[in-house]
């Protein structure tokens, strides 16, 4: 008998009586200001939040904060004047290793979750899965209207959509493995700036 069948047979013989999945035991909290909760959580986990009205405000942020950045990549066409590469057209032929020298990555993200300060992103907008990790600095852009309250809402929204890879990003990479001292910038991005575009635009 193959290992697979042996394992399955052992489980079938040893498993307890059927227990149903729970229904409606837990309902996420509601009735709070989800945008403020989202901002609070992003700040708590070491990120920064900026509220803007138009995309071009990000240009000024780049000039002031990353004046010496040589390689800035984005999936947002509106930023093509400040970016050195557009992900879908300029980076599509590159192998992931060639992204090693990316200084700043700016990505439009579909939605963020208030209760965790987490932002969802899939390889549909990434093109290269390694991008938000290998980049030195990460900037994510989301619409204010796309901030949702809970992970329950998030998975309801994702549903059974097909993706090859998707990830919730919550802050810059970090570690506290040395004496529990928090250090920002472990293996992934050294910073995370989240731009929330207001309802006006």
């Amino acid at each position: 008998m193959s290992s697979r069948n042996e394992i399955l047979a052992a489980i079938a013989a040893n498993k307890p009586d059927y227990q149903p999945l729970p229904v409606g035991l837990y309902t996420p909290e509601n009735g709070y200001n989800i945008v403020s909760r989202f901002k609070e959580n992003i700040t708590l986990i070491g990120g920064a939040v900026h509220k803007i009205n138009v995309i071009s405000e990000i240009e000024q942020f780049l000039y002031s904060n990353f004046p010496s950045a040589k390689r800035i990549v984005t999936n947002n066409e509106a930023l093509k004047n400040v970016a050195t590469h557009l992900i879908n057209t300029d980076l599509d032929k590159q192998i992931p290793h060639e992204l090693e020298n990316v200084d700043v990555t700016i990505l439009d993200a579909p939605f963020g979750v208030a209760e965790n300060g987490a932002i969802w992103i899939t390889d549909e907008s990434l093109h290269h899965r390694v991008l938000p990790f290998i980049t030195q600095h990460l900037i994510l852009i989301i619409k204010e209207s796309s901030i949702i309250a809970s992970l329950q809402d998030a998975y309801a929204k994702i549903g059974l959509t097909d993706y090859g890879y998707g990830t919730f990003i919550s802050g810059p990479s970090k570690t506290a493995d040395i004496e529990q001292s928090l250090v920002i910038g472990a293996h992934g991005s050294r910073s995370l700036d989240v731009f929330i575009i207001g309802q006006a635009s």
Binding site: I11, P20, A118, Y165, F168, H187
Partner: protein
Amino acid sequence: MKDHAQLAEAFNKDKERVTWHDETLWFVRTKRDKAAHKFAGWEQLRETASQIKNNVLSNLDSYLLQFEANAIKNGITVHWAKDAAQHNQIVLSLLQKHEINSLVKSKSMLTEECHLNEFLQHNGVEVIDTDLGERIVQFRNEPPSHIVLPAIHLKKEDVSDTFHEHLGTEKGNSDPQYLTEAARQHLRETFLTRKLALTGVNFAVAETGEFVVCTNEGNADMGAHLANLHIASMGLEKTIPRREDLGIFLNLLARSATGQPITTYSSHFKRPRNGQEMHIILVDNGRSIQLGRKDFRNSLKCIRCGACMNTCPVYRRSGGHSYHTAVAGPIGSILAPNLDMEKNKDLPFASTLCGSCTNVCPVKIDIHDQLYKWRQEIVKSGYSPKSKTIAMEAMSVSLSKPMVYDISGKALRFTLRYAPFVINNKLNPWYKQRDMPAAPENSFKKWYDENRNKKNDNE
């Protein structure tokens, strides 16, 4: 082999360090409390997670088949390993097939359990652990001492010395920021040049055939997205029914582990990227046996958050290495005897049965009850430590016979008063860091008789 008490004694030699270890883990526990108390509906969330896991255990074979079918549909190759040896062999075969002799690994307690690193090194394969804490202990040839905080037994000065030796950092510079940066530079180079990445799995979704890996450092993603070959190793029990169930578990995992609202990265791997090969190894290694143990099967609900360790008064003061097993602390002490009862017979006794572990467990495992039940199993199987067996027999005689109890009490009070050295000596481990209170003049029985009589007189 040294048992928990002997290993704890070694750890306890450095009093200052023990105090630091104790307080630091308690600090992590308080961060967990803060996060849990802030979260409306925390108890319902725990109950939901617990019931989902109960459902998983009761239907595990179907879920595994569903997961396998969907993963294959997604282009992932699925392997089944009955035990550690088969798991390790599958990894080695893949390395050999692709003529690769080095790999990067992100945190996987399962590979610790399987002793994969040692096996691969014997076969000429270089393994580089990429989680910072794991890299530190790997340089030092030590196992991780905690499943979430692998190097929590070390001080920054230790790390500084280790990095000075292996990475050429400045001697005496023990600034965590500086040391972390050195590891970042060193491992970035490694990520870029390794062809195979091995990761663990936090959750595998039956409904979609995808698996989720959670890290704060981003090391699992750096490894997997740069490698041509991604192997994910998972224990059978990591399966969950539906994608939506992640909404429950991702809310619990990081809050319970470190008090964060969620891990920095919660990555869902559904298909290999273009040109990449993705493999998943489903590992039993005793899990299907544990599933059959009515009293202990709940231990398979564990999501490896480490909350039970952070809160455990014994773990905090004895250190992870005193448990001589891949998963330390309370949960490790109920998992390990299933794998080898004789070798791990001491572990269920390394507990005060205070129940704090059970209180913080995000999936409501009855950890302290199981510790107590393992003690009974171990005694029944004849593995109990000899000194404990003799003491327990003597106790049972004196408690069941009032006359013997009276005499032993008198003898003890006499001894404590006139010849304490008979009891308080190096042969009695109870006296380590403790002293006996002064012995009372009379027995409680005598006091009770007298006082009850007084009370009766008053009436």
